[in-house]
């Protein structure tokens, strides 16, 4: 088996297991209250981390580039209560425009 297929198989199997673990073990049951309280805070914690890594994340370095301007435009769109599609398109357009100059 070539190295490519080793990586594809190992990563694929690991990801299927990661995604499936919770639903397979705990599927359909409500979480214990202590765990439920913690898990309910996962969304704000992870989404905020994703905003950071998608905006300034690089390969072991912080990269401050046009994505920051795109995010700034998104903030304005969100404050103006724009629909999700508009927020996303505005951010991409501003990122692209800033990069073009």
């Amino acid at each position: 088996m070539s190295s490519t297929w080793v990586v594809v198989s190992v990563v694929g199997a690991a990801t299927v297991a990661f995604k499936g673990l919770g639903p397979v073990v705990l599927g359909g049951r409500s979480l214990p209250p202590a765990l439920g309280g913690i898990v309910s805070m996962l969304a704000p914690a992870l989404l905020a981390a994703l905003v950071v890594t998608q905006t300034v994340g690089g390969a072991r370095e912080l990269v401050f580039d046009e994505r920051l301007l795109g995010l700034g435009a998104a903030v304005v769109a969100i404050v103006l209560r724009a629909p999700l599609l508009v927020v996303v398109v505005v951010a991409a357009a501003v990122t692209a425009a800033a990069r073009a100059f």
């Binding site: 190295s3 594809v8 694929g12 359909g28 805070m41 704000p44 992870l46 905020a48 994505r67 951010a91």
Partner: protein, 220 residues
């Protein structure tokens, strides 16, 4: 739950906002996989089974730079480890036989997960699956187009699409921050990710940031 349009359709509708960007990234993954010598079939199988863009690009970049099998697999696995806590969070609404739960869980990606969260903190299975299916089709369709030598629709970076995902996650985050506790979790998660980015492999900052959800701990 209001009975209005079916939750599947609602999930598909929400996912449509980001599906074109996911498709273009899928095309570029398919194309890059060929330049990295991965082979069309391997790139298509990877998108179908791993279904997580950031991890696939990470594995590809390491493979392409002759960084070794272990390094490529480790990078991708670290990036996808966040799906353990994410899977636990949606587990209460994923029901049915073991195989069905395992299969439905595969449609969980950051975006479908975030779309499916209700204001009360529970998750909507229909929205999760509807959004997940649209994103799955976009990502895999894009990969196939790129893998079979489809012309680039454009460089995702020139199109600014790398700036679209932060905007999406921010737009999905804002309505979640409805309590001091949620605000604390968000700020702490962001701070942990920011501080760790320069010192760790991609993926580690996100896993570490998930520890910020411990602010939700309370005595049972």
């Amino acid at each position: 739950m209001t009975g209005s349009p079916s939750p599947y359709r609602e999930g598909a509708r929400r996912a449509a906002a980001i599906a074109p960007a996911v498709f273009v990234f899928g095309v570029s993954f398919g194309l890059l996989a060929q330049t990295a010598g991965m082979g069309a079939l391997a790139s298509i199988v990877m998108s179908a089974t791993t279904f997580a863009g950031s991890a696939q690009f990470a594995a590809l970049s390491v493979l392409g730079s002759a960084g070794g099998i272990a390094a490529a697999a480790t990078a991708a696995i670290l990036l996808n480890a966040r799906y353990v806590p994410i899977g636990i969070s949606v587990a209460p609404v994923i029901e049915g036989s073991l195989w069905r739960r395992l299969l439905e869980a595969q449609l969980v990606v950051d975006e479908s997960w975030a779309f499916s969260r209700r204001r009360d903190g529970t998750y909507d299975r229909g929205v999760l699956l509807g959004a997940g299916l649209v994103l799955y089709a976009s990502w895999n369709g894009g990969t196939a187009v790129g893998a079979f030598g489809g012309e680039a629709l454009g460089d995702p970076e020139v199109l600014g699409l790398d700036g679209a995902f932060a905007a999406l996650f921010l737009a999905l985050l804002v309505p979640q921050v409805r309590s001091r506790r949620a605000l604390a979790a968000a700020l702490l998660g962001a701070a942990i990710a920011f501080v760790l980015i320069p010192f760790s492999s991609p993926g580690v900052p996100i896993i570490a940031a998930s520890a910020a959800c411990l602010v939700g701990w309370r005595r049972a």
